[in-house]
Amino acid sequence: MKVLIIEDNQELARNIRDFLGREGYICASCETLEEAKEKLSLFKYDCILLDIGLPDGNGIGLLNLIRTEHKDSNVLIISAKNALDDKIIGLEKGADDYITKPFHLAELHARIRAVYRRKNLGGASIVEFNEISLNTDMFEARINGTLLDMTPKEFDLLLYFLVNKNRVLSRQAIAAHLWGDYTDNLANFDFVYQHVKNLRRKISSAGGMDYISTVYGLGYKFNSHKQE
């Protein structure tokens, strides 16, 4: 997947590039609207990460250009202002999703994948890994074809793991993914622990392999290389 990162902060852009690079994405980045326009006129991208506050203007303005000339690209807005207006305007102008700083890179990745699935894979929104198969439209998870009885949060969690395979997912990142930002630490780690535990139990009891392992001190990891 080709990704264009339009972000004026080089460090942040590098974080994203590093993270997505490991997923095998081809990332290009630029820091200003002008550069972004130049890049967009020359290349095609599957996904564009757009920071709204750029040194030479508001990133929202770029959305029109993207929507007329890059219909197939997915646009994800990155904003430091968690302002509802930005969000609504951004989504109205044709952005596909919106993420606010500071975000977990795994979360960004999950969003990119989600947008990509929605737009590029048509109706067949199936995420598969070995014996696990998730239908993101129906919220159905199957192990070797057997339907798993899962709660929505568990489904969400498994999808998050599958998208971020072989990544260490911190408990904070998981909590933020499952419960959002504003819940004043409701999403405390007991709940994360419980969810992960339940998920692992359900997969194992359905005959799936226990890919999810605890990473000491940090969180959890979906280990795709795990052998029985």
Binding site: L84, P102, T183, D184, N185, F191, G217
Partner: protein, 444 residues
Amino acid sequence: MRLTTKFTLWYFGIMLVVLLIGGAIVYYEIQWKISRVEVARHERLNDIIAQQIRDGGDYSGHPTRRRATITRIPADSVPRGISSYYTRGVEWNPEFQGREYRLVVTSFYTIGDVHYRVSTYSFIPSFYQLLPGVLDSFKWILLLLLVLVVISGGLISKYILAPFKRTLRVIQSFELKQKDGIRLPGTSTSEFRELNEFLLKMTDKVREDYRSLKEFTENASHELQTPTAIIRGKLDLLMESDIRDEQAVLIAEMQNALERLSRIHSSLTLLTKLENQEYAAEEPVNFSRLVREGLASFHELMQMKVLRLVAEIEDKIYIPLHASLADLLLTNLVSNAIRHNEGAGIIFVRLRREGLVIANTGREPQVPTEELFERFKKGNPGSDSIGIGLAIVRQICDMSYFDIIYEYRQGFHILGISFLPRQAASKLLQNLSVPLQKIRQEPE
């Protein structure tokens, strides 16, 4: 005390003093005038008597002689330089059987070679006889003045203070956030003009300060988010490098602190936005649906903590609130009810047209419940939460003019939000009397 009342009272006091002094003046003036007239009359009478002596003849028994004394005096006792004098003193008036002023006018005449002293007298009203009349008239004057002052005071102050009252109204409706400056009505009263000028300057300054402060806050929050995002990203990347266990623990601790920082930050930013009224309600939101959805989304957490939910939600309840805020309100309330609950506890939710009541079992708060609405106040100091959820809830209620109350009784934390304007939330709790004991005993 009202300005008009004050003015009226002062005027009345001044009038009273003026009238008292005036009364004394009037009294003495009358007394003096009566004496003068009386003296003049007696001098004329004395002249007439002298003329009668000159004419000769018997006038004894004549009306002129009734109160006259005529004495022949030797030449040397005739005073020089004056032809008459008078004396005055309180004496018994046998005619009216009362003590009155006796005015005696004595004149000296030389008729032929004989010197005569002619004295006539009469009684005039004394101090005590005049006083009631004077007082009486002044009483009426005072009354009339009082009525006039009160009426005119009301009318004139209404007219004169009108610009002041308009200014007051403008100031009362002044808000820091308003975009335009205040507009004050013109006035011909220089004091009010000064006041208006001052207010205009002050409000402009305040608005300007507020705006720059807000800008600073916004910029600060904006600028802080990026470095936080960088740190978080770096930690995410660091986690995946080859690290030892003790390093992992360090990273986890950093993650925790960073998480807290970012939560505090986003909550404070949100509060600021709420205070700035950035989320106006566009149309009433179906709160019944939101409550049901909200409770459903927390279903799993409740199950994990083995909490029993008792919900009584009326259908089709619409409240004027931005949908995101309604959601936020619910999320915070329900998550609080879950977090502060103990195992096998109860959550009770009742939604009616009048308001929303959420009650949950839990430990007794260690600070007064009212204080829990303040930022960074926690019922239990040991908890992980940052203590800002209820501040957000209250802010949302305040901006929507919903009254909110937090009580703790019979082992339940009870939060009531009244949707009806001008209905106190405490009243709501009375009206929707929560059957706490019954809920507790109710079998599942």
